[in-house]
Amino acid sequence: MVELDFQIRQGSYTLDARLSSTDQVTGLIGPSGSGKTTLLMALAGIIRPAVGLIGIKGGATFFDSGRGINLPIEKRRVGVVFQDDLLFPHLNVRENILFGYNRTEPGLRKLHPQEICRLLDLGLLLERGTGELSGGEARRVAVGRALLTSPCLLLLDEPLTGLDVRLRDRILAYLLRIKSELSIPMVYVSHSYSDILAIADSVALIDVETDSQSRKHARVAALGHPYDIIAEAGKIASVGPIETVIPGELVATDPEADYSVVRGEGIEMHVSPDREDSGKQCYVTVRADDIILSVGEVPKLSSRNVWTGKIGKIERLKDAYIVTLDVGSEIRAAVTAEAVRELGLQPGKTVHAIVKAKSLRAVVLGPDTG
């Protein structure tokens, strides 16, 4: 639902953002420092591009350097959930979430405190000070505060960063609920592929190149279906933590079991925790750091996933080697230089990849999962 084509220059850094998306949730991924947050801030009006155009598809124009339009921040009606929440410390939770609501023209209020408090379970937090909130609670308050301005666009800057795994899934569930119950378009910045796969309808990849004079040029390199773009991003080693995403289908398991099984092409994955939506299409994400490589006989292991395959290639990164191997699906594992030497890793060699079920995340597709 966003349409933008602009350029931002900050010293030796240039961002060329060209993006047009009609989907409800547009994901934004890219290496850290590539300008994901900068792009959001330009949408919100906090950063002013040098030239270009920013607007809502078929809606308001926020910025148009050609026509001399630059709508002030407060007139854009763009809700922002900042990476560090930015809850006002001099106000309590109730005052925080009503801050924007009270400043929204009554005729424009589509969302009301009661509804948002129910949606985000804020009822018990209302009288608390912002210093008395846990990370997950503060994030929910920040989301509620932004929503109560009834924004025509919601920007989420890494809303799951800084939260532990269990909280991430909870907040993600809230966000999915918002997505399905309120038809607000969102732009969602994340460096975690599993979040993006779960919530985004399309994804834009920002890539950044440094030229010989160490000037950085960032641009929107690709836009499309989340899985395709993430596969594309996987080829750029500098994009976020290295993760492999494997599509598959949840298979019915023993109801007693505390894990689920996902069957992908030529690979079977044990995923924790148990999920009850068997038969559904899903994506499993595995971080390169969570994979252990072993050569020779595999002893009895507590890890639920042992996949065997041949090494395709070995790439050297700044502080690790990335080994790509074909275990039915292609996965990437991160190992140290010592490990490469001691195990004699080289292309063509057969190795076992060992991953705990707890290290795998299964993301069921579709907005109707909320």
Partner: protein, 228 residues
């Protein structure tokens, strides 16, 4: 207590309050400008504002006399309107304000610089105009600094000697506590008065500091502190 002493205490307190009153709005505005904006000539403005902190107060007083004497442009205009600055309590209040102004601006600027400007951006995304953002977010967050700056300005005005002495007529009712102390000090046999005024001066300053602590705790920091 002598009538002259009571008048000195009254005049000192009045000077303190008037100085804060005169400084508050321009001081907060200037502190905000210095902490949030870059503009041509900013270093010059900074220097001029902070000058009274470093030059001898008597010199500041001299400049004030030159600027506001009846023969000067400003002083002449004011005299035509019937306002006498030099050798009147208006001049003393002005001297106190000029001396207190840098302390007020410095403290408030520090407080404003400590506020994450992104809170202000957040307020804007929630529908606040810049002015409204200033009153609903910036000012409440800077509250402890505003109180502290005002108290410093008040205390400075209360105890200001050099510049005030230059513009004061020095007659009865035109002497603040420090001027009164000096007046008695020069008169043999007035040691008791000197000591009495010194004690009063100490008490007033301590009371001002205590009041500021109370205000800061009541409206400032404690509201941000978590109960955990």
């Amino acid at each position: 207590m002598l009538e002259s002493e009571i008048s000195a205490i009254y005049l000192s307190l009045l000077m303190g309050f008037l100085a804060v009153l005169l400084c508050l709005v321009p001081g907060v505005s200037l502190a905000w400008l210095l902490s949030r904006r870059n503009f041509p000539g900013k270093p010059v403005v900074e220097t001029v504002v902070f000058l009274p902190l470093v030059i001898p107060p008597v010199v500041t007083g001299f400049f004030l006399i030159r600027l506001f004497s009846r023969h000067s442009l400003i002083g002449g205009l004011l005299a035509d309107m019937g306002i006498r600055v030099v050798f009147s309590w208006a001049g003393m209040a002005l001297a106190a304000a000029v001396m207190g102004f840098p302390l007020l601006v410095r403290t408030m600027r520090g407080a404003l610089e400590n506020i994450n400007p992104r809170f202000e951006s957040a307020a804007r995304t929630l529908g606040c105009s810049p002015l409204r953002t200033f009153f609903t977010v910036t000012l409440p967050l800077a509250w402890p600094g505003i109180v502290a700056g005002s108290v410093l300005c008040f205390a400075r005005a209360l105890g200001e000697f050099g510049a005030t002495a230059m513009v004061s007529s020095g007659t009865l009712g035109n002497r603040t506590i420090p001027l009164e102390i000096f007046h008695h000090y020069q008169t043999p046999g007035h040691e008791a008065e000197v000591i009495r005024l010194v004690v009063i001066s100490l008490l007033l300053s301590a009371a001002a500091l205590a009041a500021s602590e109370m205000l800061i705790n009541r409206y400032g920091a404690s509201r941000y502190r978590s109960r955990h």
